[in-house]
Structure formats: C-alpha cells, structure tokens
Amino acid sequence: MREVVTLTINHTRVEVPAGTTVLVALLANGIMAVRRSVSGEPRGPLCGIGVCFECRVTINDRPHCQSCQVLCEDGMDVRTE
C-alpha cells in the first residue's frame, strides 16, 4: 500500500495519507459545506458514520456518494456543490 494518494477536489490536486476517507480529505482542505439542500441552503457532514446522508458529493461523475463511506483513491475526481 502506498503512503500517499493524490486526488482532485473541485479541480484542485490534493494529497492525503492512504486510508483517508473523502470526507476527511474535504475537511482537511477547509471544505465544510459539501452540497446544497433542495431549497439551496449549504449542507455539511453531521454524523460521519454513513447514517445522515448530509455529506454527499459527486465522485468520478457519480452524484450523491456518501463521502464519509468512501476511501480516497489515486486519480479520484471529487466535486462539491
């Protein structure tokens, strides 16, 4: 297993230790509000354990992925709203 993985968050290259969840990568890069509610309010993670669905982001063009449940991978493309 490699020590570091490289991904992009909103087109910006970031490096994180292997085994980091996407949510932690987002928080480590200062992103708290990851999506918008249906009425346009900013939303961010609440539980961090896959229950609240508040931390959904688009990963590799797939919308509504729970960022707290996905580990960062090399070349991963993460987008927030």
């Binding site: 959904r56 919308p63 509504h64």
Partner: protein, 379 residues
C-alpha cells in the same frame, strides 16, 4: 335550497373530495367536508400525480381528456408547491407488436385531436438519452402534465373554504344516511346531499359497493436533474392496469421538479398489508432498469405503497347511488384519480343541480351495473 344545515356534505378530503368541495362551493352551495384523518392522506398522497389522457376506452378518454383541459385551465392558479409541470408523456415500444400498438395509439389520439408526435428509434434516443438502445419507438403526448397531489388537494380545499365551506378534519364518520352524516363522536350533520368520496374506504360506509383495493408500490430517488425529461411509460402499461391476475408490473417513471425520479408501477389485488414487498419492489425496479440501465447506479431514498380504488370495469363511480335520493358516489378512480378529479367534480355538480354535463355521464353512473352497487337499502 334545502332547509338542512348543509346543501351537501362530502365525505373524504382526498383530491376527488377536495375537487367536489371546490366545485360545490363555487356554485354557492353550503358545503361541509368530513375527513377521518388528514387532507389528501390516502391514495392522493401515495400516487404519482400524472395528469394523463388515456385511450383504453372512449369513456376513459372522454373523462381524462375533459379533466386534463380543466387542469390546464387551473394551472395558472396553482401555487408553486403544487409543482405543476407539463413534462409530456412518452409511451415506449420495445418490439414489433408494441410498435403496432403504438401506431394504433397514435391514430386514436390523432382522430380525437390530441396533439401527439411519433418518435422513431433515433428521435426517442435524442429525447431521452438514458433509455437503452434498441427500443423501437415512442409516442410523445406533449400536453400531459404532472402535479404534486397532496398540495393540489389542499389548494382545492382552501378554495372551497374561501367560499364558505366548513372542513372537519380528523373526524371519522360512523354512518351516513338520506338525512345526513353521523360522526363517530356522536354529532349529526344534516345535509341535502351526501357524496361518498372516500376512495378505497367507500364500502365501509356503503357495504356491498364493488370497490376493491388494488395495492401499488412506488420508489423515489435522490436528485438527478435531467436523467429523464418526460414521464416514460411502457406502451403495454394498460395490459398491467387491466390485468385481473393477482399481481402485475409495468414500467412507469416520472421526473419531479426537484430532479428526483418517481419509479413505478405495481398492481396487486387481495393484499391488505401496506408493507413494502421487497419481491414486488425488486421486480418493479428490474423492469425500470431494463429500460433505463443507468438507473441501477442511482440511489433510492424512499419506498412506499398505497391502495387504488378499483372497479370491475376500470371506470369510476360518479353519480347517484341507485335507490337513494340523496346519496352520491365519487370513487373507484383506480390509478387515475388525480387526473379525473376535476372532471368528476363537474359531473357531480351536473347531477346535483340537474344540469346538462359537458360529457356524457352514463359510462360512470353507479347504476350501470347492478352488481357494482348492491348496497343495503337501509342507508
């Protein structure tokens, strides 16, 4: 005018009862609506809200077409939460036999001046890029629309209230008779006419009424704006809707203004439990994925069931209860109650005020089949 407290009492505040209330109040009648639980809480809350012109019979066409025109007239008055959108329907054919069916459908609508557009395989793929390849064609009916039914029911009821209607919510009815409605708390509301608009519960107030519960499942996804752009329905849908076997499935998917997708449909007789059946849900979703393969990648956030009020001949019961002077029916709309609620209200008003209706009322009269309405004469 009747000397009784109300000219008309409508039992049931689903979309049909709400539409009847709005229409009666508009005519200056003294109206009461009695609802046992909450406004639009039965089939109204469970259904898709597809306002669709149907071609399964001339009677079904007449009522759905007339009702759709009424929805179009109402559209500008509907508040935003009613989410009225004219998305149009595309009926989809998968093989040669269904293509023939689609062509007959096209001709049926054209002969009756309903705008339609035939989409060949390529045009269909352009209209709906997420459909699988190899489908034979589609029939676009652009004027079909969608609405969010519980809010539409509330809106119609508020219109009635603005014109003086009295609304009793959370007040179960114990019984009704020619004099009025007795509530379970013992109070009695006298009325000149009583309309039973309680959907699948109608036989509880009129034992013997030939209404059967027909269970349906629906699923809704997270928000995926643009994944589908029209309401998509397999052209064999009516085979499912009219099937009399215990259970049937048909592909039917609707985009919501939020970007969510509402996925149906299933039909089951003789099931009392409202639980979601995973077996039925799995069949329904597999059917949808057979048309839209990428649907399998999307997240469903909620599933639920509801019960349609089905009649033996697939047409609603609208009009006087045979053998009773003051009792009327407005039920049995099966899966078309949202569409046909407005036309139903117009037909009932014509009965109540002895006016000529806009469309022939005979196909929907409860008296059309004695076995439909062998209700105890003690009412």
């Amino acid at each position: 005018m009747s000397p009784r407290a109300y000219d008309v009492i409508i039992v049931g505040a689903g979309i049909v009862g709400a539409a009847c209330a709005a229409e009666c109040a508009k005519e200056g009648m003294r109206v009461a609506v009695v609802e046992s639980s909450c406004v639009g809480g039965g089939a109204t809350a469970a259904g898709m809200g597809h306002i669709v012109v149907m071609d399964d019979s001339d009677a079904q066409f007449a009522l759905t077409r007339y009702s759709q025109c009424l929805w179009d007239q109402l559209a500008d008055d509907l508040p935003p939460e009613c989410e009225f959108r004219r998305y149009g329907t595309i009926w989809i054919a998968t093989d040669e036999e269904e293509l023939d069916h689609l062509r007959r459908k096209e001709q049926f609508y054209r002969e009756r001046h309903v705008p339609v557009e035939f989409l060949d395989e390529r045009a269909l793929a352009e209209a709906e890029p997420n459909l699988r390849e190899g489908l034979r064609g589609g029939l676009l009916v652009p004027n079909d629309s969608v609405v969010y039914p519980p809010c539409a029911a509330r809106f119609l009821l508020e219109r009635a209230r603005d014109r003086g209607a009295v609304i009793f919510v959370g007040r179960p009815v114990a019984r009704l008779d020619e004099q009025g409605v007795t509530l379970r708390d013992g109070s009695f509301l006298p009325a000149g006419a009583i309309i039973n608009a309680t959907g699948t519960w109608a036989p509880e107030l009129m034992p013997g009424l030939a209404i059967k519960k027909r269970k349906g499942h629906l699923a809704i996804t997270d928000r995926y704006p643009g994944f589908v752009r029209h309401q998509l329905v397999e052209v064999g849908y009516l085979k499912s809707a009219h099937a009399h076997e215990a259970s049937s499935i048909a592909f039917n998917i609707q985009p919501r203004p939020t970007g969510q997708l509402l996925i149906g449909s299933s039909r089951q007789y003789d099931v009392e439990s409202s639980d979601v059946s995973h077996a039925v849900l799995a069949r329904m979703l597999a059917r949808a994925c057979a048309y839209l393969p990428r649907l399998a990648e999307l997240s469903i956030i909620r599933t639920w069931t509801g019960f349609r009020a089905a009649t033996p001949d697939n047409l609603p019961l609208i009009g006087p209860l045979p053998g009773h002077e003051h009792l009327y029916l407005a039920t049995g709309h099966e899966g078309l109650g949202i569409t046909t609620s407005l036309g139903t209200a117009k037909l009932l008003i014509a009965h109540l005020l002895k006016r000529p209706p806009a469309i022939p009322p005979e196909p929907y009269l409860p008296s059309r089949m004695e076995s439909l309405t062998c209700v105890k004469s003690s009412l």
